[in-house]
């Protein structure tokens, strides 16, 4: 089992609903966010191209944050989900430094916090909150090892990319292009 997400950059309109859903679902403190939306504008007028991406922790297979954690607070959960055990985290910041995507932050309570793919919802058979609320249904979540899962089908039929593959982290969020 290997959880992953595919996000359609052509369907995403950048409404930021996923960001608000996450903040509400996970009680993210004000001023912080576990996911965010980036708009990339490239080219010269009138030949402009726009790409909108909803970004979050990539739940990397080769996760530098898990490797550098001195206490084992950062660890891989079932299906390769990267999470932090708050009571083991000392707040040293090593994992924040190690993330090429700047997907982690220091929670005002001291521990390091990040996207969990809404593990608590997955355990109840639901998908992540960001996927559930997306009004354009541009996000697909599921088991990458299962060829019939939504995410596997989406990846089979479309071209895709991952962010900063040269960092060698083997990210598990795929952007359909």
């Amino acid at each position: 089992m290997r959880y992953g997400m595919a996000i359609d950059t052509r369907k995403c309109v950048g409404c930021s609903d996923c960001v608000v859903a996450c903040q509400t679902e996970n009680n993210v403190p004000i001023g912080y966010c576990r996911d965010w939306v980036v708009e990339v504008m490239a080219g010269t007028y009138p030949e402009l191209e726009i790409e909108i991406r909803s970004e979050r922790c990539n739940h990397c297979e080769n996760s530098p944050c898990v490797r550098c954690c001195p206490t084992g607070a950062s660890h891989l959960e079932q299906g390769g989900i990267v999470t932090v055990t708050h009571s083991e985290c000392i707040g040293c910041g090593a994992c924040i430094q190690s993330c090429p995507y700047d997907a982690r932050y220091s929670h005002p309570d001291g521990y390091v916090d990040k996207c969990t793919f809404c593990l608590h919802r997955i355990q109840q058979g639901q998908g992540p909150a960001c996927v559930a609320v997306c009004p354009t249904k541009c996000m697909y979540f599921g088991d990458l090892d299962d060829p019939n899962s939504e995410v596997s089908i989406a990846l089979e039929n479309r071209k895709f990319k991952v962010l900063a593959p040269e960092a060698g982290t083997r990210p598990q969020i795929y952007y359909l292009i």
Binding site: G14, W36, C69, I90
Partner: protein, 313 residues
């Protein structure tokens, strides 16, 4: 043209617009850790070589600074933790892939060792000294009997401590400026050099000072060589590392790095030490302080600049 913006808004404290999660306490600790490693390395080395009488400052007196440096350094590390009351979690596990875990355990071993070593020379400094607790008399006898073994432990642990302060940074592949295997040796040599400079400053023995000056010159030479290689490596590497090097080659850290670290912290003290060896009277405090301040600024710059560099996508 390529323009990128957060349409959802994102201004997480210490993460945006650029990473700044490690503040002053980390470079101060890296400096003090390197300094303690330098002091203890040479104390252990010359004790093993049987030069206790010829080099009293190296083997005995300068080591009194090592426990102080380590304790202040540990305090700095503690100040930097954001979830402080859980710090003991470091000592519930050994994680071989995490440089920070290595560092925590090495500090756990070398800090008491430095207290033992310095403590065993208190009576020589002050013959009338009496330990408050009778147990400490036994410890003193034990240290004197096992000095050779402790010296070896100190040499090995101080090399691990000195090199780990660099590997701590170089293991972060997400920060292109740090992600070079030269950083470990560079921080080690810089730490040894600051240790030698401190001993040099304290020493009153002419023969000892001459030898220490020569050692420091060699260390400074190695440091300059490593710095040149560092930039050669960056410029021959991928786009993000070329960009990281640009911070020092025309970018915002250029003046600080080349003037305060390379010229005033390495080249100038080296020239002063050469002149001193040639017999010109120069107060040794000048080159020693310059090496120390240069080493401290070097760590501040590396920590600060490294956090700015990142992957672009």
């Amino acid at each position: 043209m390529k323009e990128e913006l957060f349409v959802s808004g994102r201004a997480i404290p210490n993460i945006d617009p650029y990473l700044n999660i490690w503040h002053w306490s980390i470079p101060v600790y890296l400096f003090l850790g390197g300094l303690a490693a330098g002091l203890l390395f040479f104390a252990g080395l010359y004790s093993i070589l049987g030069k206790e009488k010829e080099m009293p400052t190296t083997v005995k007196w300068a080591t009194f600074l090592a426990p102080a440096a380590l304790v202040i350094g540990l305090l700095c590390l503690f100040i930097d933790l954001k979830h402080k009351l859980y710090f003991w979690q470091l000592y519930t596990t050994i994680r071989l892939q995490s440089p920070m875990s290595w560092g925590a355990w090495v500090l756990m071993l070398i800090t008491p060792l430095s207290f033992l070593w310095a403590g065993s020379y208190v009576r020589e400094l002050k013959p009338s000294w009496k330990w408050t607790f009778p147990l400490l008399n036994k410890v003193e006898v034990w240290v004197a009997a096992h000095r050779k073994g402790l010296a070896w432990a100190m040499v090995i642990l101080s090399v691990i401590l000195g090199i780990y302060t660099g590997i701590l940074l170089s293991a972060f592949n997400a920060r292109p400026l740090w992600n070079t295997s030269l950083l470990g040796p560079l921080f080690l040599v810089s730490g040894l050099s600051s240790g030698v400079a401190t001993i040099l400053w304290m020493s009153k023995n002419h023969a000892e000072r001459v030898l220490l000056s020569k050692i420091d010159l060699i260390l400074i030479g190695i440091e300059l060589f490593l710095i040149i290689h560092l930039f050669m490596g960056f410029l021959a590497s991928n786009a993000v590392q070329v960009e990281a090097a640009q911070l020092f080659l025309g970018g915002e850290f250029t003046v600080f790095f080349w003037v305060f670290v390379v010229i005033l912290g390495l080249v100038f003290p080296a020239i002063l030490e050469i002149l001193e060896l040639r017999g010109i009277k120069i107060p040794v405090v000048i080159p020693a302080l310059m090496v120390l301040i240069g080493g401290l600024i070097f760590r501040f710059i590396m920590v600060e600049a490294g956090q700015i560099t990142r992957y672009l996508y």
